[in-house]
């Protein structure tokens, strides 16, 4: 019993270390998003996801740039404008003021590849409309060098 306990503790520590090493940079992050609703397809064929105040997603770290189509959700002229800020790994990267219902594309130049497989893109809107809708996000494109 006394010899089993240190063994169990050692195994638990090793398992935790292995799990942490894996979770540092897991491959499934690329498919993970937050703050974005289910995809819907517009009549023109464009895939759109609506966000509230804050959304995030990941892009490959070896991409040179990323293009993100954005469109404000407006119900009346008094709703204008919506200010959107975009950050790459928590560093400010772009700021757009959406003043009408047309699509705008934010093109972000990504920093050189880091030790991780992915970079995180955060989009924040300064306000929302009814039903927690602020901005519609189109299909983002990662552009390789």
């Amino acid at each position: 019993m006394t010899r089993r306990r240190p063994m169990a503790i050692a195994v638990a520590i090793l398992a935790c270390a292995a799990a942490l090493a894996y979770l540092r940079d897991p491959p499934w992050l690329l498919s993970m998003t937050s703050g974005l609703r289910e995809e819907r397809r517009e009549p023109a064929g464009k895939t759109v996801r609506t966000m509230a105040g804050h959304a995030s997603f990941f892009v490959p770290t070896d991409a040179a740039s990323v293009e993100i189509p954005l469109r404000g959700v407006f119900e009346s002229e008094k709703d204008w404008p919506i200010t959107v800020t975009i950050a790459i790994d928590d560093r400010p990267a772009d700021r757009l003021t959406l003043t009408d219902g047309s699509w705008r594309v934010s093109t972000l130049r990504l920093p050189p590849p880091s030790g991780r497989r992915v970079r995180r893109i955060d989009i924040r809107a300064d306000r929302t409309r009814s039903d927690q809708r602020a901005v519609e996000v189109g299909e983002w494109k990662s552009i390789r060098p």
Binding site: S34, A52, G53, H54, S56, R120, R124, A125, R127, Q132
Partner: protein, 426 residues
């Protein structure tokens, strides 16, 4: 055997939790009431803000969603959350682990990404298992191990407790379940051996009970009324409380200190320390929906968890030292039922069974154990009770799966709907 049951319960609840989310049976854990209970944590630890304004800006563009119970207080225009801070306090260790993992994995540290979601979900599951563990310790003082094992299994699988350990684990009920079990355990220990440590723990648990759900303050009657079964025992209890008045004062002070941060938050938001955080909503004491709450197909607690009828019968049969719980149990269950039935939304919104009674399951467990104990002395009664309980447990688990599959509605179930869905999984 009861130790094995708690371990098996943990494994089954964990499997159920993984199934619910891996199969997409429901949305992420921080949803509906779970959002309002949890939202304090990102506000305190990430935005260093007690007003909820910063988290409202980041998550929701400045306005909390309509489904939350968070309103702007008239006059001050500050956010007031109808759901108090107790759940968030008990989720804190899980939240901090999730926050560290989020930073480590470079997910967005906004309080609502993957690890935060499942920290909130797993916290509820863990507190239910902790509650079962404490309940086991309490019951073992009065009943044999096999009776305790059967009781724990019946409470978890024969009621909606399993649902609140898995599908809706971010609600307040798992936390109250643990706290009620702990308060019963500590109350009994205090009355048999009054001590400073037990007094302070009683105060802490009592304070958390109030912080998780304010109306559950009613549960604190167990402390002064425990052991009262006659006029003579009442005199003994009063004498004991007076003899140990310093310990009682310490427990009361511990409750006050635990509750104080909530009062400070209310004061910050409204200018007053005591407020009705539900705003215009409240109780309708002149028209309680007693039939609906107890027996209706909509949400009747005995309709959806009929095994609790056995528990009520068992409470009346309680013998020995466990009879000390009888008077406060009767008082609490009666007044609590009246309160639930008087609430403007007596169904408590969407839920499997009536969620208002999940908190009190440790009290019902004493009744179930008493009934099982009495039945164990006669082979015929034992066979009958085992058969009835097996059927009721199977029915409860099956109906929970129906609810998960969307076969049963979230609320307002009608008799034709129930009949049409009976024993149908899809």
């Amino acid at each position: 055997m009861s130790r094995w049951i708690v371990r098996a319960a943990a494994a089954i609840c964990a499997a159920g939790y993984v199934f619910v989310y891996a199969s997409g049976r429901t949305g992420p854990p921080i949803r509906s009431d779970g959002f309002s209970y949890y939202v304090y944590l990102p506000s305190w630890f990430i935005y260093h803000d007690t007003s909820l304004a910063a988290v409202a800006q980041d998550c929701c563009g400045g306005q909390f969603p309509d489904f939350t119970a968070i309103i702007r207080w008239p006059g001050t225009r500050r956010w007031v959350n109808a759901h108090p801070i107790g759940v968030a306090i008990m989720q804190t260790p899980f939240f901090l682990v999730a926050h560290a993992l989020t930073r480590w994995s470079n997910l967005s540290a906004d309080g609502f990404t993957f690890y935060y979601q499942h920290a909130a979900g797993v916290a509820g599951l863990a507190w239910i298992i902790a509650g079962l563990w404490v309940l086991r310790r309490l019951l073992l003082r009065h009943f044999p191990d096999t009776i305790v094992a059967a009781t724990l299994a019946a409470v978890l699988f024969g009621t909606n407790l399993l649902h609140y350990a898995t599908y809706d684990s971010s609600y307040s009920h798992p936390y109250s379940f643990f706290l009620f079990a702990a308060f019963l355990d500590l109350t009994e220990r205090w009355h048999h051996q009054p001590a400073w440590r037990t007094s302070l723990l009683l105060g802490l648990v009592g304070g958390l009970i109030v912080l998780v759900r304010h109306t559950n303050a009613l549960f604190l009657v167990f402390f002064p009324l425990y052991g009262v079964t006659s006029a003579a025992t009442m005199r003994v209890t009063v004498a004991r409380l007076r003899r140990h008045w310093q310990l009682v004062a310490a427990a009361v002070a511990s409750v006050v200190i635990t509750v104080a941060p909530q009062l400070a938050l209310y004061h910050q938001a409204t200018g007053r320390s005591i407020v009705s955080s539900y705003g215009e909503f409240g109780f309708n004491f002149l028209a309680p929906q007693l039939w609906g709450v107890l027996f209706s197909v909509q949400k009747g607690v005995f309709f959806w968890s009929p095994i609790l009828l056995l528990a009520v019968a068992g409470l009346a049969m309680t013998r020995g030292a466990a009879r000390g719980f009888l008077l406060p149990a009767a008082l609490f269950l009666t007044v609590n039922t009246y309160l639930i039935a008087s609430w403007f939304d007596w169904q408590f919104g969407g839920s499997f069974g009536h969620r208002g009674f999940v908190d009190a399951l440790p009290v019902f467990a004493i009744g179930l154990a008493s009934l099982f104990s009495r039945a164990a002395s006669s082979p015929a009664a034992r066979a009958a009770v085992i058969s009835v309980c097996a059927v009721l447990i199977a029915l409860s688990v099956f109906q929970m799966l129906q609810y998960w599959n969307g076969v049963l509605p979230f609320s307002d179930t009608t008799w034709p709907q129930y009949r049409a869905a009976f024993l149908r999984l899809k």
